[in-house]
Amino acid sequence: MGATAGESSAQEEMLEVSVWHGTENGEFRHYRVPRRDSQTVLDVVTYIQRHLDPSLSYRFACRVGMCGSCAMTVNGVARWTCRSHVDQVIRDGRLEIAPLAHLPVVRDLVTDMRPFFDKWAQAKGRFQGGTTRNDPVARVPPDTPERRAVDAAIECIGCGVCYASCDVVGWRPEYLGPAALNRAWTLVNDVRDVSRLEHLKAVASEGGCLSCHTHTSCSERCPKKIAPTAGISGLKRACARAALRGEL
């Protein structure tokens, strides 16, 4: 089956684009898309949907690198498509666009993010405070080690790129994954949280921080430059100390 081609002027360069269609069982469909200056992969997907194949399903929202909704697998690597210039990612004039890995495929480029957020809950990625609105506001100096650890990890927006990039997620279905563990780390270091031990218990398992093998693919790929590996190492140490003290 030939590629579906977009309109182009005589000498215009065309991109060869393969886009996943269907669910986990599906196929790549091929398109030829006019190349433009400063074109992003999201621009390419949008062009295909508007001009070549209205049935194509995909997600995006802000399109300026803030929300993380447009994360997809581009030429084998998980990235935000709105922040991926075609020039950066193209290989031999070709683009291959697929949904994020390790998640059920709803349709085409859209994944079901529920397992990702379910694991967040399993990792007890939820703050538990010990004060009320009648108590004074907590004071957490920014230069304490705990606060610095939290600051380095708190900007996660749950885009799923780290989860899609982690091989252990692919190898162990029960593995909580870098984002959930990273969030747990911010809470373990949150001096206002009163359930520190519960946080540790939730991640002290082979499905939790203990199975991280320090590939650091998560930290390599995170668009917010967070290093989940750092937090997971910290969780390992905290769990070890708690186990030796008989707290787990």
């Binding site: 190898w171 162990r172 218990k201 203990l210 070890a240």
Partner: protein, 113 residues
């Protein structure tokens, strides 16, 4: 024992045995590089090891650490790269630990006695 405590203690056992092995292996590698120069005969080996109590203790410790470390490492590989999980995997790995301990201590005895 809670699952969290058990998993964490297994993880710790892996790291502690690793630290012991790091020292043992360093010494062992230095030893074999020294020993293999100009060829290696049984007489040379046994001349150094027979009746050597410190040698026996050192290599005995080496064997115990390996018997803990190797099965735990293999466990991760089997769980992540094959479909083998559960009780049968645990038993097989325990058997491996016993095998390494048995053969290893036998080897130490063989060269020290």
């Amino acid at each position: 024992m809670s699952a969290a405590r058990r998993d964490t203690l297994l993880w710790l056992a892996q790291r502690w045995s690793a630290a012991v092995l790091a020292l043992c292996l360093l010494v062992h590698l230095a030893g074999i590089i020294y020993a293999v120069r100009g060829g290696l005969t049984a007489a040379e080996i046994l001349g150094r090891t027979r009746g050597n109590a410190p040698f026996a203790l050192f290599y005995g410790l080496f064997v115990v650490a390996i018997s803990i470390h190797a099965p735990l490492g293999l466990r991760a590989i089997l769980t992540e790269w094959t479909l083998w999980r559960g009780r049968s995997q645990d038993l097989a790995l325990a058997a491996l630990a016993v095998l390494l301990l048995g053969l290893g201590l036998r080897a130490v005895w063989a060269v020290v006695q």
